[in-house]
């Protein structure tokens, strides 16, 4: 399997080179995307076989290139296999969507060559069994996705997004480099096997911190999320889907690999920073999303929220594992990985839906959309499925993983330390709050975009997207539903992963009656997705039946002031801004320092009334703006160095040399 997976990565890299030539014609890019879809499907299949194989050891492929002191080891263990399934499944379907996109691409040569390289980089990170190839894959992923972000480089907004992204990505890679350097110890054994054997003492907390910084900046943990809502929407929609739905998962993998696998046994307090940051991330992410009216940026902010949910699960797993509650740790960890899987499905789906909308109308702003359900029924249905799933409503998959996370939270009274015992219920309340706000946010997203009447000409003249994209979106929607109805199978296949990460696995779930899942004990809690699904279907059918039978079919004439629509203008509809206003009133003054200003003209004056809302990004103002000012001031000072004479430069070099020699001479 490992050989197969490694050759798949090689094949993707070849495709990337071929893409340079193939991108000249639409048919060529279609072919590249189709090949990507096939390779990713193959990789997902291979990884799934590896994941389900009973008790297979790690077989690694050795590649005789790499650092001068070592070779590259590639291989799939249970953890990387699970993530490889998640990533390649989503990537395969997104590539299928991209086949349809290829015909409409404006500058395909800026996208097609980097797309396979991006997927190859992500796969290389997962396959890596040594720090060197991990970091090479990580950088390949970052740089290829950066190139994709700047592919629409003509707008200054995108260029700024790409710059911020590049800075954050290089900073993240630097912290990971440091983490691996610490783990490898003074001997410098950079293969994961050597790191596990060494178990360098005392580095655990620092590695945790570095992993939170490095992997967290890629995943989008607050306050390192600043680049994410800029960069993800800037790329073409299928790339946004990959970056948001898939690349953030690679970051989660990096964190899990570093903290759960390589850093050694955790102490209980490791969970405290993780849980705190995760809860803040979940809440702030969804609040940002609620204030946002740009469809793709809204989705990007929701990625931040979902990463928070995933990290809540991981933090719980750390707390339970450190206290020896292995079964509870397995539950929390499985919930987190399940949510990783779910988020990769529905976030890709939602981004593809927003891409279809963007393509049909040229609009990303919800205030300019509306009524698309009639013009784009298939996209609307698929998008609705994604909205239900991300809002954690049964019977879709989002509900299951969040429910499992709550089950793990409810086990927190078993923890021996009082800090997490107090913290975890608070985190649970935050999670519940953000889940509710997420549902509100997606009511807004779907309602404003697809329901009501078209607010612009572009929205009223939209056409349904192409066949490939429809199939891709519908298949993801179907997968969301299936994972929600049959969660037992997903949980069972994660057994080997939890065994590797926290040393225990959940009881087998797929053998339970009625396809239900019983995470802890049948007397405590159980959930059957199928049962809920059937009940929802029955209730819906009964309601439809009753409405049809009981409601009158007679022709009615309505008065002019009907339902608050006295004016036929679409501008009188409820808007996204008005939908978000109550929540902005509650949270905005603290979190966003929101200011509202109403200017009313005097009686008799015919000037327009104005409502001005000012929102500020507190994280940016408090954290990033001072850093930017500092860097700018330093650069201003150093600018003088650029215009010295040759002799002055030589003097500088000479002075540096002498200073270093003095240090060497006086050090001991």
């Amino acid at each position: 399997m490992s050989q197969l997976a490694a050759s798949g990565v090689g094949f993707l890299l070849v495709l990337s080179v071929l893409g340079i030539f193939a991108a000249r014609r639409a048919s060529g890019s279609r072919l590249i995307y189709a090949a990507c879809a096939a390779v990713c499907a193959g990789l997902a299949g291979a990884a799934l076989l590896r994941l389900l194989a009973p008790a297979a050891g790690l077989e690694s492929v050795e590649i005789p290139v790499g650092l001068p002191l070592g070779r590259t080891f590639l291989g799939l263990d249970a953890l990387s296999a699970a993530f490889a399934v998640i990533i390649n499944l989503a990537a395969s379907i997104v590539s299928g969507y991209a086949i349809g996109y290829a015909a409409r691409a404006r500058e395909p040569q800026r996208v097609v060559p980097f797309y396979p390289a991006f997927i190859a980089g992500m796969n290389l990170v997962l396959l890596a069994q040594d720090a060197f190839s991990f970091l090479v894959g990580w950088e390949l992923m970052s740089l290829a996705s950066w190139a994709l972000v700047v592919s629409e480089h003509r707008s200054p907004e995108n260029r700024r997004a790409a710059l911020v992204y590049l800075i954050m990505a290089s900073g993240g890679a630097l912290t990971l480099l440091l983490a691996f350097g610490l783990l490898a110890g003074p001997e410098g054994g950079y293969s994961f096997e050597a790191i596990r054997r060494l178990r360098a003492p005392g580095v655990g907390p620092i590695v945790l911190l570095l992993a939170l910084l490095g992997a967290g900046s890629k995943a989008g943990l607050v306050p390192l999320h600043a680049w994410l809502p800029l960069a993800h929407p800037a790329a073409p929609s299928h790339v946004s889907a990959l970056m948001s739905g898939v690349m953030t998962k690679v970051a989660v993998y990096g964190f899990v690999r570093l903290v759960f696998d390589l850093a050694g046994a955790p102490a209980w307090w490791w969970s405290v920073p993780v849980l705190l940051i995760a809860a803040i991330t979940a809440l702030l992410g969804v609040l940002y999303a609620l204030m946002e009216h740009d469809l793709k940026r809204l989705l990007a902010y929701h990625t931040v929220e979902n990463i928070g949910i995933i990290f809540i699960g991981l933090g719980l797993a750390l707390a339970f594992e450190a206290s020896g509650l292995r079964a509870a740790a397995a539950l929390a960890f499985a919930a987190a990985i399940f949510h990783v899987f779910n988020h990769s499905l529905f976030k890709s789906l939602l981004f593809m839906g927003s891409g279809a909308v963007l393509n049909a109308t040229g609009e990303r702003d919800m205030e300019h959309l509306g009524g698309l359900i009639r013009r784009m029924p298939v996209t609307a249905v698929a998008f609705l499925a994604g909205c239900i799933a991300i809002s954690a409503l049964p019977p879709f998959n989002g509900f299951v993983s969040e429910w499992l996370t709550f089950q793990a939270i409810l086990l927190s009274p078993q923890l021996p330390q009082w800090v997490p015992r107090l913290l975890v219920p608070a985190v649970g309340a935050t999670l519940a709050c953000s889940a509710a706000l997420a549902a509100a946010c997606f009511v807004k997203a779907f309602g404003m975009s697809f329901l009501g009447r078209p607010r612009t000409v572009a929205a009223s003249s939209a056409a349904e997207t192409d066949r490939f994209s429809q199939i891709a979106m519908l298949s993801l929607a179907l997968l969301c539903l299936l994972a929600g109805i049959l969660p037992g199978f997903v949980l069972d296949s994660l057994g080997a992963v939890t065994q590797l990460a926290v040393g225990a696995k959940l009881a087998p779930q797929s053998a339970q009656a009625w396809l239900r899942i019983v995470p802890i004990d049948i007397h405590r809690s159980a959930y059957s997705g199928l049962f809920v699904f059937v009940m929802i279907l029955l209730a819906a059918a009964a309601t439809a039946f009753v409405v049809r039978r009981v409601a009158s079919h007679a022709l009615r004439r309505s008065p002019a002031w009907d339902c608050g629509f006295p004016d036929a203008s679409p501008a009188t509809q409820y808007t996204a801004g008005s939908f978000a206003q109550p929540i902005r009133r509650v949270f905005g003054s603290v979190v966003f320092r929101a200011r509202e200003q109403v200017t009313l003209p005097k009686p008799g004056d015919t000037a327009v009334a104005r409502l001005q809302v000012e929102l500020r990004d507190t994280v940016w103002d408090a954290l990033y703006a001072p850093i930017i000012r500092l860097v700018a001031a330093t650069a201003e000072r150093l600018n003088r160095m650029q215009f010295l004479t040759i002799r002055n430069y030589l003097t500088l070099v000479f002075a540096a040399l002498v200073a270093l020699l003095i240090i060497v001479g006086t050090w001991r």
């Binding site: 215009f643 040759i646 002799r647 000479f654 020699l661 060497v664 001479g665």
Partner: protein, 219 residues
């Protein structure tokens, strides 16, 4: 190694340091070129002695290269350049000679302080040789920094390179290929710099590098 052998090696390497100081002291162009030729002779002698000591015949080739190119060809060529440019006047220094010499002495002290503890594992012979070599490198650098005239900067660069060769030959020699390539690179650097000298003169009527700065609108 008998004490006499090591004394001879020290004599030759030490004479290079002394000649570096002489280079720093010179304020006439022709004298500077002559001292540089002596510097190269001392290098050739030192390398040849190392070749004899280490029974390493390829070091003789290095010595020969040093003797021919740095001892004869480059000084002669530079002398012709100086004559054609007509710049055998006083050398413009940035820092006056006295402080430069004092600073040079401090540099020699520094290189001994640095080198002796670092190379504790090696024999005394290699250690002191390396300390001398580092002094020569630093003094060459100092010369490049404190001279304004392009020709004397070239001389500083060449003497710096002599120090590198001295260090390499002391540490059991470097591969012949590297030696020859270093030799050629120096030659090419010399040619390029020579051409530049003429170009600078054509443009500015002087080889004082201050003129370059002025043309950039500075100083």
């Amino acid at each position: 190694m008998s004490p006499l052998d090591s004394d001879i090696a020290h004599l030759l390497a030490g004479s290079m340091v002394l000649l570096s100081f002489l280079l720093l002291y010179q304020d006439r162009m022709f004298a500077l070129l002559n001292v540089f030729a002596f510097h190269a002779f001392a290098l050739a002698g030192s390398v040849a002695w190392q070749a004899f000591e280490q029974r390493a015949p390829h070091l003789f080739i290095t010595a020969l290269i040093a003797l021919l190119f740095k001892g004869v060809v480059i000084p002669v060529a530079l002398r012709r350049i100086v004559v054609r440019l007509g710049i055998h006047r006083t050398i413009d220094t940035v820092v006056s000679i006295g402080p430069t010499m004092l600073f040079g002495i401090a540099l020699v002290g520094l290189s001994i302080v640095v080198m002796l503890p670092v190379t504790q594992a090696e024999g005394a012979f290699v250690r002191e040789d390396l300390a001398f070599a580092l002094s020569v490198v630093l003094l060459g650098f100092l010369m490049m920094v404190t001279r304004r005239n392009a020709v004397s900067q070239v001389i500083g660069f060449m003497s710096l390179e002599n120090g590198l060769v001295l260090a390499a030959s002391g540490a059991r020699g470097m591969p012949l290929v590297v030696e020859i390539s270093v030799g050629f690179s120096v030659l090419i650097a010399f040619i390029v710099i020579g051409i530049f000298l003429f170009r600078i003169r054509e443009r500015f009527d002087t080889v004082d590098l201050q003129a370059l700065d002025m043309s950039r609108g500075e100083s």
